[in-house]
Symmetry: D2
Subunit: 352 residues, 4 copies
Amino acid sequence: MSQPILLAVAGMGNNISALFQGAEYYRKLAAEGLSEEDFPGIKLPRIGGIGVSDIEFVAAFDVHPNKVGSKFGDAVLASPNNYPRLDVDLPNPDVIVDEGLPADFTPQQFDAVVSRLRESGAEVLLYSLPTGLQWAATAYAKAALEAGVAFVNCTPELAARDEELLAAYEAAGVPLIGDDLASHLGTSVVHRVLLGLLSDRGLTLSSSYQLNFGGNEDFRNLRDAGASKRQSKLNALAQEGVDTSRVEVIPSAGFIGQLKDNKVAILNVEGQGWAGTPVSLDLKLKVQDSSNAAGVIIDLIRVAAAAKRVNAGGFSAAAVPVLKSPAGGHPKYSAADVRESLKQLDGVTAGQ
Amino acid sequence: MSQPILLAVAGMGNNISALFQGAEYYRKLAAEGLSEEDFPGIKLPRIGGIGVSDIEFVAAFDVHPNKVGSKFGDAVLASPNNYPRLDVDLPNPDVIVDEGLPADFTPQQFDAVVSRLRESGAEVLLYSLPTGLQWAATAYAKAALEAGVAFVNCTPELAARDEELLAAYEAAGVPLIGDDLASHLGTSVVHRVLLGLLSDRGLTLSSSYQLNFGGNEDFRNLRDAGASKRQSKLNALAQEGVDTSRVEVIPSAGFIGQLKDNKVAILNVEGQGWAGTPVSLDLKLKVQDSSNAAGVIIDLIRVAAAAKRVNAGGFSAAAVPVLKSPAGGHPKYSAADVRESLKQLDGVTAGQ
Amino acid sequence: MSQPILLAVAGMGNNISALFQGAEYYRKLAAEGLSEEDFPGIKLPRIGGIGVSDIEFVAAFDVHPNKVGSKFGDAVLASPNNYPRLDVDLPNPDVIVDEGLPADFTPQQFDAVVSRLRESGAEVLLYSLPTGLQWAATAYAKAALEAGVAFVNCTPELAARDEELLAAYEAAGVPLIGDDLASHLGTSVVHRVLLGLLSDRGLTLSSSYQLNFGGNEDFRNLRDAGASKRQSKLNALAQEGVDTSRVEVIPSAGFIGQLKDNKVAILNVEGQGWAGTPVSLDLKLKVQDSSNAAGVIIDLIRVAAAAKRVNAGGFSAAAVPVLKSPAGGHPKYSAADVRESLKQLDGVTAGQ
Amino acid sequence: MSQPILLAVAGMGNNISALFQGAEYYRKLAAEGLSEEDFPGIKLPRIGGIGVSDIEFVAAFDVHPNKVGSKFGDAVLASPNNYPRLDVDLPNPDVIVDEGLPADFTPQQFDAVVSRLRESGAEVLLYSLPTGLQWAATAYAKAALEAGVAFVNCTPELAARDEELLAAYEAAGVPLIGDDLASHLGTSVVHRVLLGLLSDRGLTLSSSYQLNFGGNEDFRNLRDAGASKRQSKLNALAQEGVDTSRVEVIPSAGFIGQLKDNKVAILNVEGQGWAGTPVSLDLKLKVQDSSNAAGVIIDLIRVAAAAKRVNAGGFSAAAVPVLKSPAGGHPKYSAADVRESLKQLDGVTAGQ
């Protein structure tokens, strides 16, 4: 085991539960003798030499009364979190959840976050509050910068795409990784490859739709406020040969409590082949929604920590494959850039 | 309209019905003013300058009593063919279906096929008998060679992969295009991209299966004799990161007459993501089976005819994207080879 | 052909398009020689001697600018209606669509409706405005009563369950048929039989959900205002042995324009069998939404007209099987009551 | 806990594993304080006073080398059995599996079975060998009769429908319960209710199919020899208003080892509603195949044991709801007969 990431988190939702429990799950597999090359669900066992269980939670911020003031290990399992309780023993890190910033935070409150980050020794601040709070993303990003802590933005808010902010991180030699994580196996990527395949094979798209539903808080929130999410998901499907005006996306078709943290997506694709005869595809995708996020967060925080350890400020191309909106945009980065960035993180660390 | 392909066919099954009716379907669309760039289900409106309706049937061989001795236009719609009757007027080419070769054919019978091909003026012989008759594929390929007619092999039998045969075609300056067409939107390619996506995203394949069923004669035949087809379909799924020992394929789960020429495929993929939590995909694909073949045959015969017109003997890389087993194997050809081959067919023809 | 129903309609939506076109569809089948016993989708070829094509539209009310003032045959096909245009010739009845009542209608406007009904000679007024307009249901029901015209209420608003109103209809000898049509093959009835089967066989329901989506105006309206519809749908699933607290229903998961007048429903049922081992059912139901209504409306209006012709005022038990909330409630009526009522409508008519 | 059923079994397949493990599963639930009224998957907690864990295995016959000569508890888990190992402690009854009868058994071998049944003290012999061995069903039934042991036939072979055999059981005062268990939640019953619903609502069946597949030995066997099973399953769908000539059934679409003892069924129903417009239902059913049998076997053996205890020879109507082909045929029994029979088994037993 290499030196663990000293991790602070802003937001204590299901994603953090998945990350926390999952790290212990893999620790248990390793203890049972499974090689990390064979870990299920893991593509890169090491990034910058850091393994998937090498995480130490050192600070946490949230605003929910069930969480603020509780010990980390209790807060992360408290309602409304409903990620399943995995069959592993969990530690209870000696960390009390701090009250997070309110929308009308004072300079004193901001400074308190900076101090907390500093005194915790955190290497990385993972930002994963609910979608839509641009002010919060900006505030935590600025606090991390001031504390010299690498910042990872899981949400669609602007952070790494904020050129001024990115320049400040670069100047300070602090990593800034974002924005918006691309789910491990998201509806969008499945939909995208099916539409792409249709086009690539020379069939004509007639119509297509995608519905998502589930039982965590996201599906309650998105049910009413899905318009921007809808557009973002349509953008994710856009590619050569695909007419997205023929595609409908429903980000939240409904909150179905019994599904808990599972997400179900229904996809339909109708097309025309030779002589205009129809082809149809109907697909049902079921995933553990927060595992879908944590499986990617594990890469983002390792990139951030590894970059920090080699003093690589600003954005790292190694994070590109798991981001929806990387700094500078996807077209800026080639597969070679990603490989090179990963090598750099590995190489230098290995040399230490 | 450019000069039509003078086409002979060995086998008068649903694929030929789809090809014949489809050519008229597109002729009708063009007559209604639709640009060929907007034809549904067509990726390449022109290959070597030849459009999708530029086909003239000049000879046909079959052994079924419902077909032998009938006029082409009657035979192609006769039972057990059950491709749908499209809403287009059909011509009835002045061609009588000849008795095809029996398994124990005599030299005289072979010579009769050669003569028929010669006197018909055929440019291309399209071979699409039922799967499994290697002797027939070889015999028709040799007859075509002797008659100086380009040969297209739609089936998994060896023809273009038979090195001796290929050398003979090359020496004679006659095109030989094969083997085994890759369906327009086949179950294999859909299954393959889903398995590839899972691997690419770093999830672990737990298990997967694929079942195919339909109501044409193929599904009756394959029900009992699917072992080689099963292996061929498993091969088609093999790729980096995919453990096909975890995949089961049932080429024919059953003959369901009411489906007629439709094929339905059921796919399931079970995987593990972060912390070993499950992901599952269930997909139903429904296609018009013979359109799925004809949408590819249209490219194969255009490549063959265009190659013949420019005296390009042997195999043409332009056919690679629509073949399962091209001469020499897939790895031999790059995307650039395909583009170059297409350009060559276009360029020279255009210069005529 | 028996004497046609002289029919007035309040609301000119897809249901009326389906009813109007469908009547002609069956007329065409009959003209082609098909016996009405073999009509697809028809359980009772005759009710009170009236066939499914025996409809004559004599008056119509609507408020949409695309419809008011137009001829019936134009209005019924005008946007936002998007029921498919069936492959039949349509007559264009000599009826102009009248402006319907506004929410703040005056006594004069009310009287105009009564006069219009009287002068049209209508036997039945079919009420099928959008769900939720209790004032409109009441107003049209009172106008019909005053005009001596039978009233059919397709919606969940109170009419036949309004005891005072029912008594007035009974006293006047005018039929009042309602409330709320039960779709021909609705999601609720499919869901209900699956849940009932599980219980009947002795398996334990773990959880279940139902999502509905489509491309007509209903799905746009219900997306935001589905709470009462949700409860009504849950009620429809309630039965002995079924714990509906384990069931979630989403009346509109989304408006998907490309589906037009089609409705898709996704059902899931999870249960436990012997030793607590799981069983799961996943079902997709696709229907032509307005045919699903018209297939039932055809029975309601025939019951109403037949009852009027034999001077049977008030409610008729013959309508019970196709209503969600019949006057007095479902438990009041046995299968024998329904048969008896049908016989009465038939018998007396036959005796005329 | 009442007096356990002393049970002998002919055949040690997955069904016996499910029965054996399930009995312990419910014993554990009871020990944890769950009332038997709340047992998941159990409709009748008591039959004749006997609970679902009241089973004692006293003899077993099989021919598989992995099983013969082994202790019961080992044999029941041995390959090719692949019912899941439930999370309960299992006893290992002091019973060695005897070699079962071969097809050409001698009188001596037959007598050995009779003796073994006698000396074991068995009350009931449960016959659940693979389908198709009529000689075996007859032989074991005769042996049980001679030993005075009640006989339960889970298979489609003739036993309770063999009038001569039934008369002999009646004369001897020994229960004979069969034939052919109706799965707890089988594909047939689900398919049947959907077809019945369509008819009941007045829609017209266009076509329908049903495919079954799974990973236990049944699906390997049925793949090649499914013709009689197909007809039996079609019979099970027959009902008023359903034209089974429009239905196709594939008893085994394939053996998919990864599914182990799970069964998956795919159902499709296409119909026509008002104006001939289409309705379609697609359903996927997934069950634990052997739980589906054991959940019914538990009723059959309790009926048999309770009947034996009250000296009710021959068939008992209490078994009718869980049999496909009860003695005398389904129409012979009313729901009242079943209730009466259950009461008789309960009442007399209670009075002891």
